[in-house]
Subunit: 333 residues, 4 copies
């Protein structure tokens, strides 16, 4: 039985608590939030759990094995560091920290103390992403050509970060999980319209062997779009996360250039076959992820979404941020 | 009655001929194509029109007032130049020429001879684009924040140009028509997978006052998408050109930042009201455009989609191409 | 403060309890269910509420003002009757009872005791239905021509009732609320495939002045559809309840027959204008409904979805059932 | 080379002529229409074809082998009869005639003269219907449970027939082609709102072994819907004819009732697997059909969509019409 303290009970925290609460292998030992309203909500929903406004109560409690950090990004490092220093495993909301140096420090600290860091890259635990990874691993798509994701809606403006740090960690972590190549360079463009932070941004990541990824994030879209196109040598797929049932559609479509004879005789052959929507596992991703967190602690295993994975995402975020400031110059990762 | 010679009867030429044929103010005087199959098709459909394989017959014929150039891009300049030199107005398929120098030469030549150049930016004559322009002119959207277009499908591979020169002229000409600001810089990324030309590309165009445009073109998408998001200070719209009826949806949605008090108190107010799909004129755009071409000749008026407009698009294409080669560095226009 | 006992904690009961629990004006005094699993779930979620397996504890408790009956249809009458006899107001899941005689007995009993009956016709409290009613009341649609609803999916098979008694109460109550004319006759067709009850059914209701309603209910559809077309003399609308945002689309479309001269000269004029999706209130319908139930009790007002409204629906269900048995003969209401 | 005369050049006639014109095995020998405007259009498009306003010229011409009758329904019988009497094969627009007696007379006449009758049930030649038939024949769906079709839009009002005779022949012919059982009875309801003919109608057809078909036709719908659900014992499918690419989706979904123990223990098991959209042949159906017509004549074969098939549809239309007049009473076929 792993006893978890949850710091942060704003927008996402309640989901962490609800799912931990439902696990047999974990127990929510304490919930911490500075906001009286959040404390009241927590108390109403979990009358038997300790509620506090003081993070150090959670960080130092001997009755707590692990801490979930679900606070604004700028506070992740200090809280996670304190937790690790107090001998607690940490589950940290994405992105792991505000910069790579902080992430590296946490990774080193956790390694020394033999503690786990898990970054909440929830999407990696959805049925959809797991199915796409499986299709790629089975060679269904062939060599990957491109990954093109659109994540836009009239979003929750964040006061401390821009749209890249807010939304792109989702796409970057999925991309990292699916493509499994070392990124070569990053180009980001974008613009701000309401405050000091970009609210619209477009990121390109170059990989070896002509694989390319593109991420479109936007807080100012009138419609919600969560669609990713993945093109492969053999097949292509569309993942529409807003579809209730048929989230992934695999197309037996493609183009082949057979040969080339003379300027006017480019022999392109198109292939167009069936479309297929595989059944997707429906379990709530966060439940699967938290269960995995607890099991990694119990079995002393390194999660695949560990601090190192979180660091890879942060390095890409930093590169994107730097490129954005230069209005699009190429930044090597 | 304007007598038009049409050079090129491949994929798009038949549409030009069909629409010219239906105009009362124009007559198709000759059709030229080197392919025997194209000649046969033309003869079958228009038994009374002169069909030839020799472009110079069209370019020099005294019975012809204007020439429509509907051939591969690399031939546009030579054909349009010869037509102008022979005193004929020209209607040229987009993009106008292969580079800006050529376009400038054509513009100068036309000016000297007092002839018209019209570039076939067909989309500017669709009911949808005309309606969006009208909404912008009426101030319905307010200050423009962003223009974000996606034009992807399993496309016709072109042998002589890449996906940017093939598809982006549509979006760049629409963007130019709607935004009406001088672009500042262009960033393009992309990749090639099958032959020497990029088949996937992403273009960002920076404008003054934080207006930004983004164009996603892809020949390797399993699904066809033709969607443009336009975000404004007051309202936002989605133009889905594949919708048969409700192509444009205007959303009374927005975000306002009222004030900012302290780090944790960003006062963002979201506005969410009705959605409205205005009725769109249904006339075939190419018919409207060709009618306008004829009327510009008859009334000696300069078309708004003239050589200068075509040149603006080519300069953006050249900038995008240069940026693409640099894997995304910013190129000033 | 109205104290409510809830009988039935299966599929729908938890929603009743959750919404009552959130009201300031009500308190969930007891939850009753015979299933140990349901009791466990209730206890886990509401540790401070009395949980019982004995309905009579709820029905007779002096500490309870009103009873919500959320059990299988065949038990509604006995439970509601007992509640009324014990001086309690009742909120009964739809359909009110298994037949009209029972409903009439409950209505009479409630009247005598000056108690409220409310039938859970939840849809009448959705933003969508309220908006449609408002549009009709404002004369936006003009004279109603037809109401055509489709409610199909791979449904929860009910063991004691057929698809008409399970799904059609939704549509019949909405239709009753919107059309406000006395039905003239009912025709129902349908078929059973798996057990003794029809799983596919089609109901037509004739109203005066050529208004007609049609309801398509199906437990065996591979896709979920919740779409209603409403045609009026002036405008028409489509209500798609599965759309997250634009549930109602109002079309400025219509047909007019101007006059008729000779057999070949029917002058029909079509009108096609804008489409408009009004903003819809987003509050959870059940919350609004339960709040209304409590307020009707407190202010001694008769709810519009009272026993008499429930009886009207049951009479239509009985007529449909009779017609279905006759494989579609017309049954007068 | 079969020489065909086409009578009727209004809405559908031009499509018949265009497709016949493109066939190598047929020649359009004459086009007849009483409207001067139609004659002008025909002359413009086919300058070399004989155009006439006198049907008897076509019916009696010795240079004509077959006649296509593409006129209002009430004229089908007289024209087809005259054609057969003059020794010509006939291709008749759906529905074949205005009543069953006429159809029977034509069938008998054709048989005596050894001539072909083909009824234009175009949908039977679409890739979609052919694929569904193939899936049924291969046993993919298992025993058919239901066929439920919706064919609604703001339609072309017909002056001489109601919405059933106008639209339902499509669905009835498809249903007849797919279900291949003898219908038992028909129930139709509907209403008229603008002139003397019903503009909204709902038809149910009962078949043996609990197979049921339902057809929803409506001239007054604000949106166009062309969707058919087909439920089978093993699988279910949705055919959306408005989808450009994925017209048919086959769902590996179903319900099974394993056993039944006690009133409260109905063991229903749901099966939910992959969805699959088979590739559909894209050839224009009318072209395939007219090619088949010509080939049936040349090879002296009886088309499957012959007069007898047309008669089956007319008998269902007559039964539906009779039921409609009775406001829904069951009519045996």
């Amino acid at each position: 039985m792993i006893r978890v303290g949850v710091i942060g009970y704003g927008y996402w925290g309640p989901n962490i608590v609800r799912n931990l609460h439902a696990l047999d292998s974990a127990r929510v030992a304490a919930i911490c939030d500075r906001s009286p309203d959040a404390q009241r909500r927590a108390k109403h929903a979990y009358p038997s759990v300790q509620i506090t406004s003081d993070a150090s109560e959670v960080l130092r409690s001997p009755r707590i094995d692990a801490v979930a950090v679900v606070t604004p990004v700028c506070t992740h490092f200090a809280l996670a560091k304190a937790a690790l220093e107090n001998g607690k495993h940490v589950f940290v909301e994405k992105p792991l920290t505000s910069n790579a140096t902080q992430a590296e420090e946490l990774i080193e600290l956790a390694q020394k103390r033999d503690l786990k860091i898990m970054v909440d890259h929830t999407f990696l635990f959805t049925g959809a992403v797991k199915k796409i990874r499986q299709l790629i691993d089975q060679g269904e798509l062939g060599e990957l050509y491109y990954y093109d994701s659109m994540r836009v809606n009239l979003g929750l403006f964040q006061h401390d970060i821009d749209v890249i740090w807010d939304l792109a960690p989702h796409d970057l972590s999925i991309m990292d999980y699916l493509i499994r190549k070392e990124p070569e360079s990053v180009v980001a463009t974008g613009e701000r319209h309401l405050n000091a932070h970009a609210d619209v941004a477009f990121i390109t990541v170059y990989f070896p062997q002509n694989t390319i990824a593109h991420i479109n994030v936007n807080w100012l879209s009138p419609v919600k779009v969560r669609t990713t196109l993945i093109g492969g040598e053999k097949k292509m797929l569309v993942w529409n996360d807003l579809e209730p049932d048929e989230k992934i559609k695999v197309y037996d479509k493609g183009v082949q250039i057979a040969s080339r004879e003379g300027v006017y005789e480019l022999l392109v052959s198109y292939r167009s076959g069936d479309m297929w929507a595989p059944k997707i596992e429906q379990t709530e991703a966060l439940k699967v992820e938290l269960n995995y967190f607890v099991s990694c602690i119990e079995n002393n295993e390194t999660p695949f979404n560990d601090g190192v994975a979180g660091l890879r995402v942060i390095k890409l975020l930093e590169a994107a941020e730097e490129s954005l400031k230069l209005r699009g110059d190429s930044v090597f990762v």
